[in-house]
Homo-oligomer: 506 residues x 2
């Protein structure tokens, strides 16, 4: 029986639909229907607009908008996330597809396979290494790039190059060629959309909610967030599996790569969706428009689509983040600025550079932990954080420069390890060498406040003359007594050789 | 005057010769002469042998052996390190030089430029990221590869391929073609060298010293060690500068790339060298042999050189390291084995893979810190180490799964931050989101034992309802009282909103 239970739990983990379907009620159905319909009415114009961003024929936006809804209904762990074409993904696709749908579809299949593999191999944790400043820099830059990319459509200009800087130059140079009809239509659409947004923001709770959910939905896809508005929890690896399946299956229906959408997830949550079943309604609506509306696409003015895109991506720009980081943590401005600036060159380079820069800052902070040295009868050295192998040389330098350069050298050095939770072999070797070096100058080295795993490693390494004390006070008292000539024996020691005169190298 | 003093100190740092030359004495001169002569007598046969390992004409070994001695005398910070051709560097050169000296010399110039740039940009700290298991795996594998590479010379076989596995196969297949003369000479030389080594190891102090200095000299070059046998300290960036200059200047005298030598540094230290001036004597001796002995090189039997090489590199193999790591830290066996095994394919790949693997293990340990959760009136969450951005999701998961899944959910969560020495913006955002999520379920989040830099960051972030206590006991007492309905106000809080009923999302 327990085996069957475990199998059942495993199945429910892989097929989250089984968690909510047995409890499905008529009340939920009503709410899901409404929410699905609302999202559907949002996705149809957005899909057409994003296909334009991706540089593909408009119908490819709709081809990409239904498979995600169906797949997520069965495999998704959050009730309100909606998969489909997004502005940023469309921008990324545009730089690989070269206006050829076949490349975009191949990209869908391949990215789906990568996502499936990551989900199956539980590599979801890799997304944890994309830090907040990188995401902010990337979305802010993308919002500018995507918006400016649409200015040419609002002005009715043609033959503008794709590269951002060339685009800005050409658009400004040829601004005299603006077509009045396009400009009037585009600006009017923008004004209407801005008006609608302003009306909505008079409902403070909803707006706040939207920003929360938008961030959430973003994090789900990009940094595996853990929402728990529902009683089931989001599993980042399962989300990757759902996304991977949606892309692989999508590639068979000419979809370009899809991901979780900020905006529509917010719409979904605000419409009071109860389960991912709302996606079925959205998907059906997209299929219906594909069946009956495609012949009308020809008449959609590009300026109107441009207005839809601009009003969708402008809120993604966060100017306040620069000020916030300056106030809270200036060092984080480095990955932010690197990502933000490089994204204008190529979005991918920006993200990769940002991740590398934040990784380097992270590794540097590990290689140079804060070290506090208090001089006295004993030299007390306290590490502010964990001790990993890249930090060993730095610690050795700090200890030696204080212990050997002091005017009246102390008789013993005590290393306070209370913040160290684990150590590796390189650190063990480094500590042994440090002890040997200090001994050459007639100094002893003792440890205090060792956590259990660290003590175990140090004991198993059989360090010659290893000496440790339960607390800092104990160590200072004994070290001081020893310095005074009292010669109190250490509390715990695997060998007594520490107290013998040093004879290795004179 | 202070400005002149600082300039003088800066000059002494860049030209370490200025530190010891003014104090130079006749007694030092005597010892340096002896040591320089001893190292010179070692370097001449080794240089010829290593040129053979590098696949270059024998004289290139001597071309590579004098510039390092001269340059290090002026720029080096350790008294006993000797720069010159080494077995491992020769192995690396052999895979790039294709038996063409011109490629090797170009490699010398380029690697010198890289080393100079690293020294000038203070990138010496990058060497801290090469961990002990990687060095051990690499030297052990190199010792096997280099030794086996010489077996063909001992047996007098010709036309054996360079790739290790093919080499083993071909050598074993053609073992019947062994030439008796070569084999007798080679084995006799090996026996004599092994005999000399055995005699030396009867002097335990010297042997122990050798292993210490060998490791030291190795670490200087590879992981910037900090020796302080002298009263001046070793500066890794200055060492890189010295090495870079030696290589750049060496490339003008047809040197192949050089580095610090294990063996000869040990010989130097044992001979009682006092200053790097000993190198001048060594360099002069090499120049003399180049002037008068090159015509004799033709008659040196390869089998004898092979014996010199084998007896120099065999001690680098450390079989015990596998057992030691199994006992002390099993996880470190992963980078060790990856480096060791891949080095048989190509040494460079082995080192790069080893560094990557130890970097991944390091990042993983940062992304998944030990988290201790104690349930009670308040849920006490204690992090075992620092909190960097990749660990935020993991912490949020741990807190939520305990706080929301408990049979009798606690009223408040206390995060004990005593081991956290710094936090970044991603963590701040994550903590704010965690607080919001807990609040939705009617739970409060408080912090305790914050270190000053962390408190400063959290205060500057203006977190809504931020609440912290000086100690864990304080937090538990107040949290418990609050849970009991007492409603004690928190000790410090930037806003009182925490105590208001939550109203953001119901």
């Amino acid at each position: 029986m327990p085996a069957a239970g475990a199998r059942c739990a495993g199945l429910r983990r892989r097929l989250p639909v089984l968690r909510w379907l047995p409890r499905y009620s008529l009340a939920w159905l009503q709410l899901d229907l409404m929410a699905g319909l609302t999202v559907g009415l949002t996705v149809v114009p957005q899909a057409l607009a994003y296909a334009e961003v991706a540089g593909l024929p408009l119908q490819y936006g709709l081809y990409s908008s239904f498979m995600g809804c169906f797949v997520y209904c069965f495999l998704g762990t959050a009730k309100d996330v909606t998969l489909g074409p997004t502005a940023i993904m469309s921008l990324l696709v545009s730089s690989y597809a070269f206006h050829e749908p076949v490349y975009a579809i191949l990209l869908t299949f391949l990215s789906g396979c990568v996502q499936l593999a990551m989900g199956l191999l539980h590599l979801g944790f890799l997304l944890d290494f994309i830090s907040c400043p990188v995401i902010k820099g990337f979305t802010s830059a993308a919002s500018i790039t995507i918006s400016f990319n649409q200015v040419k459509n609002i002005l009715g200009l043609q033959g503008i190059p794709r590269q951002f800087f060339l685009q800005v130059y050409e658009t400004l140079r040829r601004i005299g060629e603006t077509r009045a009809g396009d400009a009037v239509l585009g600006l009017a659409c923008l004004a209407v959309l801005a008006g609608l947004r302003a009306m909505k923001s008079h409902l403070p709770r909803a707006a706040c909610m939207e920003s929360l959910v938008a961030r959430l939905s973003y994090l789900i896809v990009w940094t595996s967030a853990t929402a728990s508005q529902n009683d089931y929890r989001i599993d980042p690896n399962q989300e990757l599996l759902a996304l991977g399946f949606a892309n692989v299956l999508g590639s068979f229906v000419s979809s370009y790569p899809i991901t979780g959408s900020f905006g529509r997830t917010a719409v979904n949550a605000q419409s009071g969706v109860c389960t991912p079943a709302g996606g079925l309604v959205t998907g059906a609506l997209v299929l219906l428009s594909l069946a009956y509306l495609t012949s009308l696409f020809y008449y959609i003015p590009k300026a109107a689509l441009a207005a839809v895109i601009i009003s969708a991506v402008v809120p993604m720009f966060d100017a306040g983040i620069f000020r916030t980081l300056w106030r809270v943590k200036r060092l984080d401005l480095v990955p932010l600025c690197v990502t933000f600036l490089l994204c204008f060159w190529e979005v991918q380079y920006g993200i990769v550079a940002g991740v590398l820069v934040s990784g380097i800052l992270l590794l540097y902070s590990i290689a140079r932990p804060p070290i506090k040295v208090s001089e006295g009868d004993v030299l007390l050295v306290q590490l502010g954080s964990s001790l990993h192998f890249p930090a060993m040389e730095c610690l050795r330098d700090a200890v030696c420069s204080h212990a050997l350069a002091a005017a009246s050298p102390p008789r013993s050095v005590v290393l306070d390890c209370c913040h160290i939770s684990s150590i590796d072999y390189t650190v063990v070797v480094g500590l042994a060498e440090l002890r040997q070096e200090l001994r050459k100058h007639g100094l002893s080295l003792a440890f205090c406040s060792l956590q259990d795993p660290v003590l175990k490693v140090l004991l198993s390494a059989d360090l010659e003359g290893f000496q440790h004390f339960p607390s800092r006070e104990e160590a200072e008292r004994c070290g001081g007594a020893e310095a005074g000539g009292g010669g109190t024996a250490p509390f715990t020691s695997t060998s007594e050789s520490l107290l013998l005169p040093t004879g290795l190298i004179q």
